[in-house]
């Protein structure tokens, strides 16, 4: 119980730090990275909850979640680089802070 509380507290601090960065972040990349961190922390939260609840199947869910998070971040970054998700990418578009 106290172990769970300590783990949750640590995760909560991490969440708040990441959300602070997503809120303040001067550049868009800070924000993208912060949201990616929130996703990682969500994966950790699911794992911790599954561990303390005695349900190892939650680990698989957390893994799938990490994959979705990764693909989402790649999609956002690809959008940033090319301005589109299709294959008619602009050859010379440089990144800019939208």
């Amino acid at each position: 119980m106290s172990c769970l509380a300590a783990a949750l507290l640590a995760l909560g601090v991490g969440f708040i730090l990441a959300i602070t960065r997503a809120t303040l972040g001067p550049t868009p990349f800070d924000r993208v990275l912060a949201v990616n961190t929130v996703g990682t922390l969500a994966v950790l939260a699911i794992s911790v909850y599954g561990f303390f609840d005695g349900r190892p199947a939650f680990l698989d869910i957390a893994l799938l979640y990490a994959l979705i998070n990764f693909i989402g971040t790649i999609a956002i970054l690809k959008y940033f680089r090319f301005g589109t998700l299709g294959d008619h990418a602009l050859p010379n578009s440089d990144e800019d802070g939208a």
Partner: protein
């Protein structure tokens, strides 16, 4: 007890993100925060044992919605217009929220086997769906046979909405800066 602790902290986090997203005026930050909101909400759904809803939330809320909002962001200014707080919508939203909070007290307990939703048609499906439909998976037989017209309508609505969104923003993603701003409309959006 531990469930309560986890739920309370996740809900508090959701409220914090929502308030921050409301306060910010930089739209890119709002989009990023809404992505973070979806991720935390999906974790909440996992804790509530609604794993399928959680995956939908993570894939649609954090993935597709964020990308669609970013695509929209390339068409609109980067900052929200300053506006004063209008009283009538604020009052209506507060009232609706209070009514919903009152209605929550009327809901059956979480996981209650005597809840109406478990006693209406669910026993019939569990007993008879394999005989009636011939599909071993009950969820599949409900979605594809008992409620097939409903599913068909949903698919149609989502398909139409996707086509409309692609037609509106598909060809008009971020235009090349140095290329004299010549845009090609109605290109396929891949």
């Amino acid at each position: 007890m531990s469930g309560f602790l986890v739920n309370a902290s996740l809900i508090a986090l959701l409220a914090l993100i929502a308030i921050l997203a409301l306060r910010l005026h930089r739209l890119f930050a709002v989009v990023m925060l809404s992505g973070a909101f979806s991720l935390v909400a999906a974790a909440q759904f996992v804790v509530l044992d609604a794993v399928d809803v959680a995956f939908t939330e993570a894939a649609v809320g954090a993935g597709i919605s964020t990308v669609l909002a970013l695509a929209t962001l390339s068409l609109v200014p980067a900052e929200e217009k300053p506006h004063s707080i209008s009283l009538v919508p604020a009052f209506l939203a507060t009232l609706t929220g209070l009514l919903l909070a009152v209605a929550v007290t009327d809901l059956p307990n979480f996981g209650d086997p005597k809840a109406p939703i478990h006693n209406h048609v669910a026993p019939e499906y569990i007993i008879g769906s394999e005989q009636a439909i011939g599909v071993p998976n009950i969820v599949t037989s409900v979605l594809a046979s008992y409620r097939s017209f409903d599913t068909f309508g949903e698919t149609l609505v989502v398909f139409t909405a996707a086509i409309a969104v692609l037609l509106i923003i598909g060809g008009y993603t971020r235009a090349p800066r140095r290329a004299k701003g010549k845009r090609k409309g109605s290109q396929d959006a891949g």
